[in-house]
């Protein structure tokens, strides 16, 4: 039954253990299948980008062109959302975008582990963005960063209502950012597995079962297309929201 279990694909298995800190129930560290795919993601991105652009062709070939398009795409995203000043965060946004995109895309390969289907990974990435915003916001603007919670042009008597809302919305950013990515990837992979699992279950049920299994097959094909779209869109959404949050840190007054 493990073949059609939709949860099995998210199980983390040790490839080799590293250390267990603090006894039997303590912190267990290991190189896992998740770690393997994180390494694979970084390797794919780095090797592709570095090797494809190593020729430094004035007239790019197709491989180099893809790297340049990716660069310009993210650069324009950062520049349009966070301004030219935001370009100092370009490597961060670029790393986040490519990491999530490639991790999602690798996850679409059958039997591959999807790194972003674990809340702790997406939460860590969103906390990285959140803490960057807070630290940079205070370092650059000092106490003026708190203006973020006091929208300009709002009458004084509304401020007691608006400011808590702004604070809550600010604090919920890392949660919404991480849950959005995690939820989309997790739900998509479960749905895909459930529908294609129906097919496996239906085929042995005689003629009608086998004929009816075409429906989940078609559904599976459609969902695969949708999941590729989701994989790309979620990486884009994460990157765009990161840019917008960074823009808050750079220009805290609305």
């Amino acid at each position: 039954m493990a073949g059609t279990d939709p949860i099995h694909q998210f199980v983390i298995e040790d490839i080799f253990p590293i250390a267990t800190i603090g006894g039997e129930d303590g912190l267990h560290l290991a190189f896992t299948n998740s770690a393997l795919f994180m390494v694979a993601t970084v390797a794919v991105i780095s090797l592709y980008l570095i090797l494809s652009s190593s020729g430094k062709r004035l007239i790019p070939n197709r491989v180099q062109l893809l790297s340049e398009l990716l660069y310009e795409f993210v650069a324009n995203m950062v520049r349009s959302s966070a301004g030219t000043e935001g370009m100092k965060f370009f490597p961060l946004v670029f790393s986040l975008f490519t990491f999530i995109l490639v991790a999602n895309m690798l996850g679409m390969v059958p039997y591959f582990f999807t790194v972003t289907s674990h809340i702790i990974v997406t939460f860590a990435l969103s906390m990285l963005v959140f803490l960057t915003v807070i630290v940079y916001g205070f370092v650059k603007n000092g106490p003026k960063f708190l203006k973020l919670f006091v929208p300009a042009g709002v009458p004084g008597y509304i401020l007691p209502i608006v400011t808590p809302i702004e604070v809550i919305s600010f604090l919920s950013r890392p949660i919404s950012l991480s849950v959005r990515l995690f939820g989309n990837i997790l739900a998509g992979h479960i749905t895909l597995k459930v529908f294609t699992g129906f097919m496996v279950t239906m085929i042995p049920l005689g003629f009608f079962g086998a004929a009816g299994s075409l429906l989940p097959l078609l559904m599976g094909i459609a969902l695969t297309g949708l999941e590729f779209l989701v994989a790309a869109v979620q990486a884009y959404v994460f990157a765009v929201l990161t840019c917008m949050y960074l823009n808050d840190a750079i220009h805290p007054s609305h």
């Binding site: 949860i7 998210f10 590293i18 267990h28 560290l29 994180m38 970084v42 702790i120 990974v121 990285l128």
Partner: protein
């Protein structure tokens, strides 16, 4: 908060395994108490030879958080360093080079265009002045030829007029001379005719007779 997550985490796999496996044991689990659910789940997962070692929905299993965070930190830091130190400056350099090259080329093209424009203007100017000069020369020579022609014509005409006048004068003189001789000839002829017919007659008589006839 943490307790809530754990509770959700423990319920979630129960529901999911319940839906797909449709096993009675897991269906019971959903309704059960938390501790009972955990125990039942252990049984259920063991029963199906599943690999949920802890019985928790894998994405919410805190036992794996340490390893994931460790490797995420290592890999993402490596990615960030590789991107910010190697890949992005390299690609950015290519793009900057290209932009510089395009700008330089455009500038050179603009300079060439200006040079071309200047050359065209100089050519046009030279052409215009040459044309003007040519027209000047042409009209000058035309005038000179015309003046020469007119001078020659007037000279020839004057010459011709003088000759015509001289000829006319000659004719008039000859005519008067001839007319002057007519009387003499007529008188001589009349004398000769009369002397042949009636005998001698004086030249004087003949002349007066002719004069009488003329009147």
């Amino acid at each position: 908060m943490a307790g809530l997550i754990v509770a959700q985490a423990q319920e979630a796999p129960a529901e999911n395994t319940g839906e797909t496996m449709q096993s009675e044991t897991t269906m019971e689990v959903v309704g059960d108490e938390l501790h009972a659910a955990e125990e039942e789940l252990h049984e259920a997962t063991e029963l199906h030879g599943d690999e949920h070692a802890t019985g928790v929905f894998p994405p919410f299993d805190p036992a794996t958080f340490g390893s994931q965070l460790l490797w995420l930190a290592i890999t993402f830091a490596a990615l960030y360093l590789l991107m910010s130190r190697v890949a992005l400056p390299q690609i950015g350099g290519i793009l900057a080079d290209r932009r510089g090259r395009i700008d330089a080329d455009l500038k050179a093209a603009e300079e060439s265009r200006q040079k071309t424009d200047a050359a065209i203007a100089a050519y046009e100017e030279a052409l215009a002045s040459a044309r003007a000069k040519a027209q000047g020369i042409a009209s000058e020579s035309r005038d000179a030829i015309a003046a020469d022609l007119a001078a020659k014509r007037t000279r020839v005409e004057a010459d011709l007029a003088a000759k015509v006048n001289a000829a006319e004068a000659g004719i008039t003189q000859t005519k008067t001379a001839a007319l002057a001789h007519v009387d003499e000839i007529a008188a001589e002829t009349a004398q000769a005719v009369v002397s042949q017919l009636v005998g001698d007659v004086s030249a004087e008589a003949a002349r007066s007779a002719v004069a009488k006839v003329k009147e």
